[in-house]
């Protein structure tokens, strides 16, 4: 193991090494619906910190909750564990873990560094192959323990599924409360597991449709500030926010380009809605669609070369793909019903959308040429899918019929399985999943 130490860096992964990747038996095929999640034993971490055992005590619980929520893992109740964690520290006694049917085993240690930071080390073991799959350690301040736990959960997820994780991420969404007639809507930011929840805007300001920049340090959204619906840019580090552009009508549906240098948004004026692109450095504006219809809901392909959007130019909402300069606008959705809110997958292969058919709403995906449509969730009103950064999980919003009219956030796997509510303090809508936190 090599140790690199940056004192002032927020996070330092000290070492990461893969052991025996060749014939590890512990694998999950993420492309199939996972009816039988993998049993995994995640033990309490040995804690030798000066501050005592409370420090970062919840790290294994956070890891466990992340993995369980993914639907791919089933953490085993620690009451079933046979080998003590003290003995496990030397070497796993694999038969003890086989007998409780653990396929993977995670143990770790939390200690203090000389300069008062916290060091978290963990091991991932393949119980049946009886080998070590992963050993990594991180240093942080006590405040950073939750984040370390998410990073460890991502490492385990990646090692076992072969896919990038998505636990060290945040979700920005619109928190909702009060009467439907005058709903109070505020931007709220939280970790993907609902922790560290913060409101970013005031109750009296109606805000909608937030989106993260690729660095997750800026957010764009629609605000009805001073009764003038316009697109704003909020810098999370400074708290500064700015009006984007000086358009002669309502601007809405803002999205960042994958490199973060540009944005698209829609301008509604004289009964037409068209899509524009703004260069965020020069603030130059280019018009991408030019017709008398509604053209909105733009989303960039991850390579930044194409944009998918919705338009009702055929008579009803359908999905179209165009080049970045607005050329070659081509319809891709041809199923029955209306298609809206397209979102290009971070992997580039799929487009998620909202579908409206026969008085029901659906969240679905199709390939970027429009083929292979699959519906993943449905309801009286579901809308606004947003991809987790690994392109394997989608967040969306589900509103129930009145009189309850509850609006809640949900996530669902690309397989259509493992639908779960994302718990928020109040009601929620318009979720946007961040990239992995840089």
């Amino acid at each position: 193991m090599k140790f690199i130490f940056f004192k002032n860096l927020c996070f330092v992964a000290i070492s990461g090494m893969f052991v025996m990747p060749v014939y590890a038996q512990v694998q999950i095929d993420i492309n199939k619906p996972n009816i039988h999640p993998m049993p995994i034993a995640i033990t309490r971490f040995i804690n030798t910190t000066n501050q005592g055992n409370q420090t970062c005590k919840n790290v294994p619980d956070v890891i466990s909750a992340d993995l369980e929520r993914s639907g791919l893992f089933k953490p085993i109740d620690s009451k079933a564990f046979i080998q003590t964690i003290e003995s496990l520290q030397n070497q796993p006694n694999f038969p003890d873990w086989k007998v409780i049917n653990a396929q993977a085993l995670v143990n770790g240690q939390i200690s203090s560094t000389q300069d008062g930071q916290i060091r978290v080390e963990f091991n991932l073991w393949d119980v049946f192959a009886e080998n070590q799959m992963l050993k990594q350690s991180y240093t942080t301040t006590t405040n950073g323990c939750r984040r370390i736990a998410h990073i460890i959960a991502d490492a385990i997820y990646t090692r076992i599924t072969g896919e990038t994780g998505y636990f060290d991420t945040q979700i920005i969404y619109v928190s909702e409360t009060g009467s439907q007639l005058k709903r109070i809507k505020r931007l709220a930011l939280m970790d993907q597991d609902g922790e560290n929840h913060n409101f970013l805007t005031q109750p009296q300001e109606l805000v909608l449709t937030p989106r993260f920049s690729p660095t997750a340090r800026e957010v764009t959204y629609l605000s009805f500030f001073r009764n003038n619906p316009q697109v704003y840019l909020l810098h999370l580090n400074s708290g500064r926010r700015e009006l984007l552009g000086n358009f002669p009508g309502m601007t809405f549906a803002p999205r960042f380009s994958p490199d973060g240098n540009k944005m698209t948004m829609s301008l509604a004026k004289n009964g037409n809605t068209n899509i524009y692109e703004m260069d965020l450095k020069t603030r130059n504006i280019t018009r991408l669609t030019d017709n008398k219809w509604i053209n909105t809901g733009p989303s960039y392909a991850p390579d930044g070369k194409k944009i998918v959007f919705e338009s009702d130019r055929s008579g009803s909402q359908q999905l179209y793909v165009m080049n970045i300069d607005g050329s070659e606008q081509t319809r891709i959705s041809f199923g029955s019903g209306r298609y809206a809110t397209p979102v290009w997958s971070p992997r580039g292969d799929l487009i998620a959308f909202t579908k409206h058919k026969d008085r029901e709403f659906f969240i679905g995906v199709m390939r970027s040429d429009g083929s292979g449509e699959r519906l993943l969730a449905k309801g009286y009103l579901v809308e606004g899918p947003s991809w987790a950064p690994n392109g394997r999980v989608l967040a969306f919003c589900r509103q129930t019929k009145s009189p309850s009219s509850q609006s809640k956030l949900f996530s669902v796997d690309l397989t259509g399985f493992n639908e779960k509510q994302i718990i928020t303090p109040l009601d929620g809508s318009d979720p946007a999943w961040s990239p992995l936190i840089p």
Partner: protein, 169 residues
Amino acid sequence: MKIRFLCMVAAVALLGACQSADETVVSGTSASDNIVTKAPAPTSAKSVSIVAGSQADFVSNVGDRVFFEYDVFGLTPEAKEQLIKWVAFMQKYPRNNLTIEGHADERGTREYNLALGERRANSIQNFLVSHGIASSRLRVISYGKERPDVIGSNESSWARNRRGVGVIQ
């Protein structure tokens, strides 16, 4: 991590601070506050409380809204009949300006409904302009499905929520 964490806290604190300092002026001044509710004022009080040319006058004696078919922004014959009265009111009170709000029912995606609301408000604006009201007196705003008039997931509620509303300024 510590630095980054503090940055975040500072960001949130700053945001809160700047809004409470600079932006509280908008508190309670959104357009929907200005919509007088449809419930008619008690008849005894009506004659004394309503100022000619006011929003209350417009609501009580003209009718401040027109309705649209599902996913349609064209004006119905009933709506046109109603808007003729708006034209007369605007001609009678030439100093009044009018904000036209466009609204949609809940059965549509959020951004599409914003665009649809703008289309509806624009249809009303076009009608008024074509009947001689100066466009400089008119302003449109779309609320999409964000400000329903009634709560209900049924035909009659949806029909009442698909509306254009005039707000005298």
